[in-house]
């Protein structure tokens, strides 16, 4: 009787390390509402706290769009991002002049993981931009970037 309960728990625990490479999204209502209306939820783990802070201080000119929000929300989301940010895992997160990188797609880790994707592929009409993670990572909106859910569109 006890075993029947313990077994699924044990299996779930064993499965955890396998999921660790997937950037599951910590629940946060403000982040979901404010940061997923124009694009998918980029995983907080993919930039470091310094980069997030810079981004959150410049939302009125956010990659060519106005993404400004009220100060209370902004502070809450900045805290959430800092708390869930990636550390060393993200690789190089400053540019040559030492300024924090604001794009995940410019981090060393991103470049390393996508070495095999050639320049012409990024420009396809079906992809448009490396920032369009969901074009190839079909489960990106859920934070799943594992190889088994990648399909590169024609």
């Amino acid at each position: 009787m006890k075993l029947r309960i313990a077994l699924p728990v044990l299996l779930a625990a064993l499965a955890l390390p396998a999921l660790a490479d997937n950037y599951s999204l910590p629940k946060n209502a403000a982040f979901e509402e404010e940061c997923t209306s124009c694009h998918i939820a980029y995983p907080p783990q993919m930039l470091d706290a310094h980069s997030w802070l810079h981004m959150m201080n410049g939302l009125a000119t956010h990659f060519g769009t106005d993404a400004s929000i009220d100060d209370k929300r902004r502070a809450a989301i900045a805290d959430f991002l800092a708390q869930n940010s990636g550390g060393r895992k993200t690789g190089r997160t400053v540019d040559a002049r030492g300024n924090p990188l604001l794009r995940i797609t410019e981090t060393a880790r991103f470049e390393k993981k996508h070495r095999k994707v050639d320049a012409a592929t990024w420009k396809r009409a079906s992809i448009k931009s490396p920032a369009n993670c969901g074009a190839c990572h079909t489960q990106a909106a859920a934070g799943d970037y594992s190889e088994r859910s990648i399909t590169i569109p024609k």
Binding site: C38, D66, S68
Partner: protein
């Protein structure tokens, strides 16, 4: 107990002030001090005003249909209330997006008249 009463009062207040799309037309017309024109709204919405985008670049020229973000390609649900019951029901949201999207398309805020005209056109779409 007092807290519960306060929460109950807050919930009631939110319900009382929940807006309908028509409320926005009324409000913008009042701010503009002139009646709206759906025809002007259609022209404003579908033509570029000096910037890279028009409203239609993301919301399409027929906003009863779903759109796509011109830069990121993300799907956007229809903007016209007839096709999407969630639209124009929350003043904070409506004000926020008018501010952002007008800035992106015009490099300035929209005037009350422009907002009233767009509202009148969106409400006329079936």
């Amino acid at each position: 107990m007092r807290h519960i009463l306060l929460i109950a009062a807050a919930v009631l207040a939110t319900n009382v002030y929940a807006e309908t799309p028509r409320d926005f037309l009324t409000r913008f017309e009042k701010e503009a001090g002139a009646p709206a024109s759906a025809e002007r709204g259609a022209r404003f919405f579908t033509t570029k005003q000096g910037g890279e985008w028009s409203c239609a670049s993301c919301h399409t020229e027929k906003p009863t249909q779903p759109g796509r973000h011109a830069r990121t390609d993300k799907a956007i649900t229809p903007l016209a209330p007839a096709a999407n019951a969630e639209r124009f029901t929350d003043a904070a949201k409506v004000d926020k997006w008018f501010r952002r999207n007008c800035n992106d398309t015009l490099n300035r805020v929209c005037s009350p008249q422009e907002k009233a005209d767009v509202m009148a056109w969106l409400l006329a779409l079936k």
